[in-house]
């Protein structure tokens, strides 16, 4: 049960952390994360 609670709390946290990881470097590269949709990730840069 504890594991499931951890997973339920952890998945959104992991996704947000994941996007923040991308955004951090995108800002460094001069690409404004504000223009990128949430969870579309950096795919917007070249592949979409």
């Amino acid at each position: 049960m504890g594991w499931l609670i951890g997973l339920v709390l952890g998945l959104p946290a992991a996704l947000i952390l994941h996007e923040l990881g991308h955004w951090w470097l995108m800002e460094e590269a001069g690409f404004s994360p504000a223009r990128v949709r949430l969870f579309s990730g950096p795919a917007t840069l070249k592949f979409k």
Partner: protein, 217 residues
């Protein structure tokens, strides 16, 4: 508006997400295994050593899990079979120690980080792993990956969802599974991959035909 960016910079941006998840997973793993070792009343040196051994074992198994996911990914999309998902990682974490109480929650958090990190590294259109491959392709050949290739991902995801839903109705894939196990074991995975690729390419061809038809109108 297209923002011009070097392939190497783009590669780092793609890698940053999964790397942050895997790093957070490692920190949580240190806490998880460290706590369980400390609880078992071992001398400090032994507890530290056990923690490090557990983490390295986890890493080794994750690499194994990831490579098996790579081989099984297309069959799992087509047949909804064989893909471990979070349960595979759950087994890795739970199977090594048997802690109780709040530390299980840390195990869940750790699993979530590893699942998100590893899943995104799969080289599949739409996921970060495909972006990494695309950037390397651009670095080597000097050409950008065509838009049509990344559009394949949408077809595959749609098709995977359709088949996945169908498999749910088939009752835990029993009907398909009983057919699949008739294929000799040494050829099973290769056969499923070829079959999966054939089905997917026919879906893609159908989409291309429809697209051409729509363009004509």
């Amino acid at each position: 508006m297209r923002h011009e960016i070097r392939w190497s910079q783009n590669l780092l941006i793609y890698l940053a997400g999964p790397v942050v998840n895997l790093a957070a997973g490692l920190v949580l793993a240190a806490g998880y295994f460290g706590y369980t070792a400390w609880r078992s009343d071992l001398p400090l040196g032994t507890a530290v050593l056990r923690t490090l051994t557990s983490i390295s074992l986890l890493l080794e198994r994750l690499v194994g899990l990831f490579s098996s996911v790579l081989v099984e990914f297309i069959p799992s999309l087509v047949l909804g079979a064989g893909f471990h998902g979070p349960w595979g990682i759950h087994d890795l974490v739970q199977g090594m120690q048997n802690p109780a109480g709040f530390i299980d929650v840390i195990g869940g958090l750790l699993t979530a980080q590893l699942v998100v990190g590893l899943f995104n590294l799969i080289p599949f259109p739409g996921l970060d792993g495909f972006g990494v491959i695309g950037c390397l392709y651009e670095g080597i050949t000097g050409r950008v990956v065509p838009r049509s290739v990344s559009a394949l991902g949408q077809d595959m995801i749609l098709f995977g969802l359709l088949i996945g839903t169908l498999c749910l109705f088939l009752g835990r894939n029993q009907a398909i599974y009983s057919e699949v196990i008739r294929i000799p074991e040494n050829r099973r995975l290769a056969t499923l991959n070829v079959f999966g690729l054939l089905v997917l390419s026919s879906v893609i061809a159908l989409r291309a035909l429809l697209q051409r038809d729509l363009n004509r109108k």
